[in-house]
Point group: C2
Amino acid sequence: MVSERARLLAAQGTPPIAAAHFRAQARPYHPELRPDGYLNLGTAEHRLAWDLLEPILTRPRVVTAEDSHYGLVYGTADLRERTADLLTRTRSVLFEAEDLIVVSGASVALDIAAAVICDPGDAIIVPAPYYSGFDADLTGRSEARLVQAPGTPETDFRISAAAIADAAGRAKASGLRPRALALCSPTNPLGQVHTPQELHDVLAVAAEHDLDVIADEIYANGVFGPTAFTGAYGLPDSPLPPERVHTVWGFAKDFGVSGLKVGVLHTTGEPARTAARELAYFAPVSTDTQALVCSLLADTAWADAFLAASRSRLRESYLHLAGLLDGLGIPYAPAEAGFSVWADLRRGLPRPGFAGEDLLWRALIDQARVSVLPGAVFHSPEPGWFRICHPTDPEIVAEAVKRIGRVLEATGRGDVTAVAAQC
Amino acid sequence: MVSERARLLAAQGTPPIAAAHFRAQARPYHPELRPDGYLNLGTAEHRLAWDLLEPILTRPRVVTAEDSHYGLVYGTADLRERTADLLTRTRSVLFEAEDLIVVSGASVALDIAAAVICDPGDAIIVPAPYYSGFDADLTGRSEARLVQAPGTPETDFRISAAAIADAAGRAKASGLRPRALALCSPTNPLGQVHTPQELHDVLAVAAEHDLDVIADEIYANGVFGPTAFTGAYGLPDSPLPPERVHTVWGFAKDFGVSGLKVGVLHTTGEPARTAARELAYFAPVSTDTQALVCSLLADTAWADAFLAASRSRLRESYLHLAGLLDGLGIPYAPAEAGFSVWADLRRGLPRPGFAGEDLLWRALIDQARVSVLPGAVFHSPEPGWFRICHPTDPEIVAEAVKRIGRVLEATGRGDVTAVAAQC
């Protein structure tokens, strides 16, 4: 006997994003040893910082008996204080350790944020395209529903206060109560940095429609373009009271340690904060790992230098990919942050619509052995866009783009079966 | 705006068990430095194995770039294989790595087990007294309700098939659908080891009432008495099919590393296993910590010797506490396993019932500065019983029991206010 919940979970199967990741990782490309292996530009991981991290992660650790015993479920005081200090230092807005809840990954932080704001059936407005994890993360425990506020190719899919207002209206018209707005900032998949004006407009719409804001700012320190990062919390002249902005951050992206699963929720109001602490009970982080990430923050000079070096490498990596795409005449939305480029592969669609996008995706992964994710995964308002991640070995990126170019030539002629011969 | 869920969570506040733990840990007793500090025998932690663990936990670790990146959310293949091997080796029943789901603590493993079996409003039968964490762990995500099957002092509160059948009947009569039976084995707070016959009888009742069994066997390797541990999974001639037994285990108790928060769920049927893997997404364990606990299992000779030494120290620690209680004429249920003794402090109740038990508890913690947990926390069917944990510094245990004795003298005379003067 299993629950109805278990039947639904089992029936939905592994999300394609996870399946593609593990398929690509299981047989990775190597120029000599496995030339027919997979090139994984599908996973948003920072693989360009290991030389900087290795000395810290592999050095002898100080572990005491106390470290091996129970700690506060929402994070050790040490980690919360150091994290608050980092957030305060990098954003010029005061973050207090008491307002931080440390949990096993940013996905869980999103899950908890949604659960403390939304009742089952409430609506969360999400500008689209959006990070596909939101589908599970924002609805898992909350049982809320996502309502999209789609962007348009004409404005490079930038967030739009009008689209959010429209989505809130549509949610109400269909009998849902709009309760929150989920922002990704900088955005994934697009790598855009919201300007203070954009944030102000969007928070004004949130205030008008009585929405809390869940700000997923996990890429906050991954900005390499001209627009400085601005957080939703502490926005000057914010139209929304501070306790209605719930910020999610983590170590996975900014510190390149996705495997350590350390996420942080910042929330300042009551009873939201107390409720979030209680829910952290179901996703605590090992005291050992908390001590390890503390050691990444303990030397602030090292941490600041690491983040600067990381941003510089991301910029270089982005420019490399952008140059390769330019060389093949493949358009893309310009990025200022993050790990990916949102590329317009419409000319390679073997047939119109998302069915064509799916065929192109399969040609890329099945035949060319390139893992990139199709726009449908990110609820793209328009078919034919793909997310290409770049912070990995530049030779892998170059080989992948070469193969993508060959696939587009074949599939653009409607010739899906010829792809295998091309690659 | 917050959800109804958040209001309820915030209103319930910190559970007394957690509050007492942190209060006691914040100002620990020291014979010279802080003679008025707290003696914490309230937390079920193994504090007698650090000398054995320290060399493993503090030695230089091998961490690769791959360790810092995404792993399978339900546990690395390495950890699941080594854990399956340990379970198979110590129980003489085959456990497969593919049937294990690794999550951030045994509480989460219980939460997931209940969620894949029960729909909201279903009933889970629980023999009482029981581990107080069940209240949150088995109902958090499942929204199931617990129905108690109380034991009696005459039989030392041992589990009873008749009491379970009766509870299932009561659940049905009140309109609930009994869906599962949760067993703690060895038991907490009592430290009893179920005999094969007891398990057989109980599983027969489960089969008769169409119940799955959730077996919390986190103390499986903490047996120091004459009755060998028998797991619910793989019981010879089991009346219940194997896929209806869901086993929870973890490293917190048997390996004395409660802070590492590594729990394991073993479930063999579909779609339960797939659904449980999906839920593990919301409580993954750091790859770094997974590698660390792997290193506890990698040298099987070391692991077996550690577990043997741990059992021997638990036995000694138990006998020490039992001797102290005997010396004061305080009765208790005999234990064969685990970290605690279920002591009968009824003679110290300043007034009858659970109100008296609560007064005695407050006298103990507020005035005598001894943290032990009252039976009400464990849903004891009878007031006046307390759980006293022993695997810590024997001097702490001796001092605590001395103070308990003094408190009982005063409170037994109904003289609660005089306690302070006595201690």
